[in-house]
Amino acid sequence: MKLTDQFPILIIEVPLIAAALMPIIGHWRRKWCMPFATLALSITSMIGYYLMLAVNKSGPISYHVGAWKPPFGIEIYFDHIAAFAFIIALFGLLIVIFSKNYAEHDLEEEKIPIFYTLVMLTLTGMIGFTVTGDLFNLFVFMEILSLSGYALIAISGQMLTAMASFKYLLVGAISSLSVLFGIAFLYSITGTLNMHDMAKMLEVARAPHVASVALTLFVLGFSVKAALFPLHIWLPDAHALAPSPVSAILSGLTVKMGIIGMIRIFFVIYGVHSAINVMPIMEILAWMAAATIVLGAFFAFFQNDIKMMLAYSTISNIGYIVLGLSMAPFDKSKVAYALVGSLVHVFNHAMIKVLLFLCAGAIIYRTGLRKLSDLQGIGKKMPITLAAMSIGVISIVGIPPTCGFTCKWFIALGAMEGGKSLFAALLLFGALFIFAYYIKILNTAYFREPTEAIANVKEVPLSMLIPIVILAAGCLVLGAGTLGYVPIKFIEPAAMALLGR
């Protein structure tokens, strides 16, 4: 087989190789870590780009590791959802470029290679999680990305980071366990671990109770990973106290893994044809998501710490995504507006949130301050960063013509379609609430005179500006125009496939 046929595995292996070699390189030449990581990630994102185009052209790609036909071996199933791997690689690249100065500036000498290793590992885990077609393999990759995530939070070694990390670890470990238990239950009634095969066996399996309990366990586990409302306790501390590049990774990408897990479970394994009716749990999810939107926005409103604010807004945006998922119509007659919207929002929110956290990181890097009240008039000192941040803010609120708007439009439309106008209203007003607290950032940034604390603050170095500017441009360009179509056009067949049409 040609090299391009090997791409589905290479997209996981390239960062893994980089991760494995990173400590060795770091032991000899500290300076080479960052270039090496950049190189690996750029190769990965090229591969991802190729695969994305391939999927878009000719449907999902199935790759059999070790030449074992599924269900005997492990299958790597690269479908439209798995194309998120490309996004992970790309944003990972930007974040690594950004974190060059951070690592040199804030970390002690010997932790630099460790930092890059962990970043590569967590990206590997996420990519693997996204593309794998085997349930147990998914669990393994989930562990990789979670463990490296826990460690990354505590890497700076400052006060409280260990506590935040531990909180995350405890909850995360329990959630992984519940996923594993779910896998156990499903395996006991299907006798296979390959997702598609499992879906087939589940249709003939005569064990509704087992299947429902398994589904519940899965939903619980993944809602913890996605920080859905009652299970979101770990998120704010973890995302706020972590170093900013790490917060960008966690908040932009890692949280999405819970969502992708849910998608796999709901639509691939249980699916539309399955004997188990997933609708009731969808109802519950919808209400949880609604609560998440409102409460996330509500708590964010009272934060003074920028990163806390961003963390809470992540929670409420996850609410949007899950709301969209939960309103996916299972009857053929309806258009899957909501599903498309939330799938697009998975990507958009990743972009916006990475942008925002990088901007916050840039500000903290220059000023060392993170309280909003200390940062008055920062906009006059760091114009480019703050301009980018404002773009991010506008898009996360979902004001056209930025990319945040499209998904809200679609999800609201889907809510209408599902006859849940209440949710649509809630969503739109939730956006309003979010704006209410983001306007505080803009106010302090632009309409105040600089305090003497930040009197001699300069714009951040180029290696930090480049990712920020690129992402900001993305937020604008992908919001409108023919480019604005691209994510939707790409995701629509995916949604159709998920709904088995």
């Binding site: 494995a20 490296s148 006991s188 309990v213």
Partner: protein
């Protein structure tokens, strides 16, 4: 008091959860029944063809290395991650600055212990090596062997202290060895790729039957050794990082 009430409440909730589980359990296929779907759907192939396909009389090893080898590569990545995570939280021990608990503990290690450990460690390591190399025909394999090696190293450290142990492995050797498992997997996967086969294919066509067997066995051995060494060193390093106490 309040806390007690809380605990009772939690207890009740837990029992409810258990009840829910029991409903599922009562519906699960009967345990030990050969006719279960778990024993009829995928597994028979492993049991029938396992020896010639999987290439190991010990089917479990065959599955670990061959059928589901990719899981195992993920597994070694996980333990590698664990090590790096531990190093990120607590730094690597530093021979000059740090001591181990034994060195600062008031109790003097008795002669008996030292002698026994001195005497046993080589034997344990020998047993570990046997287990690593013999994993495909008998229970055990790279990981178990590695764990045992790690245990022996830990015992050695506990007796003779950080300094004495860690001087035996210099950092420039340890670091490559720690990632050797991941690298071994990737290497043997890349071999297959080089011949244009999917990742982690061990049976490479285009050679004579015996050569194929030989290559496969060689790859197995490489992986097993990689896993074993890496696991041992990783456990030792984790232990050293956790057990160090800075001098001041």
């Amino acid at each position: 008091m309040n806390k007690k009430v809380q605990n009772y409440f939690v207890l009740i909730v837990m029992l409810l959860c258990w009840a829910v589980f029991l409903f599922a359990v009562a519906e699960m296929p009967l345990m030990g029944d050969p006719g279960n779907i778990t024993n009829t759907h995928v597994v028979p192939r492993y049991l029938e063809k396992g020896v010639e396909e999987g290439g190991a009389p010990n089917i479990v090893t065959g599955i670990i290395l061959n059928y589901r080898g990719y899981d195992t590569s993920g597994e070694v990545t996980v333990i590698f991650t664990a090590l790096i995570g531990v190093l990120a939280v607590l730094k690597r021990e530093n021979i000059k600055k740090d001591k181990s608990l034994v060195e600062i503990s008031p109790v003097k290690t008795s002669v008996i212990v030292t002698t026994v450990v001195k005497f046993l460690t080589p034997l344990i390591i020998l047993f570990a090596i046997y287990m690593i190399l013999h994993g495909d025909v008998s229970p055990g394999g790279g990981f178990q062997g590695g764990a045992i090696t790690g245990g022996s190293i830990i015992a050695f450290t506990l007796t003779f202290g950080l300094l004495a142990t860690m001087r035996k492995f210099r950092l420039s050797i340890r670091i490559p060895l720690e990632s050797s498992a991941v690298l071994a997997f990737i290497a043997s996967g890349l071999v297959a790729m080089f011949f244009g086969l999917p990742f982690l294919t061990f049976l490479i066509p285009g050679f004579g039957f015996h050569t194929q067997e030989l290559i496969r066995h060689a790859l197995f051995i490489i992986i097993e050794i990689g896993i074993g060494v890496a696991t041992g060193i990783i456990f030792a390093s984790i232990f050293a990082a956790m057990g160090k106490v800075s001098k001041e």
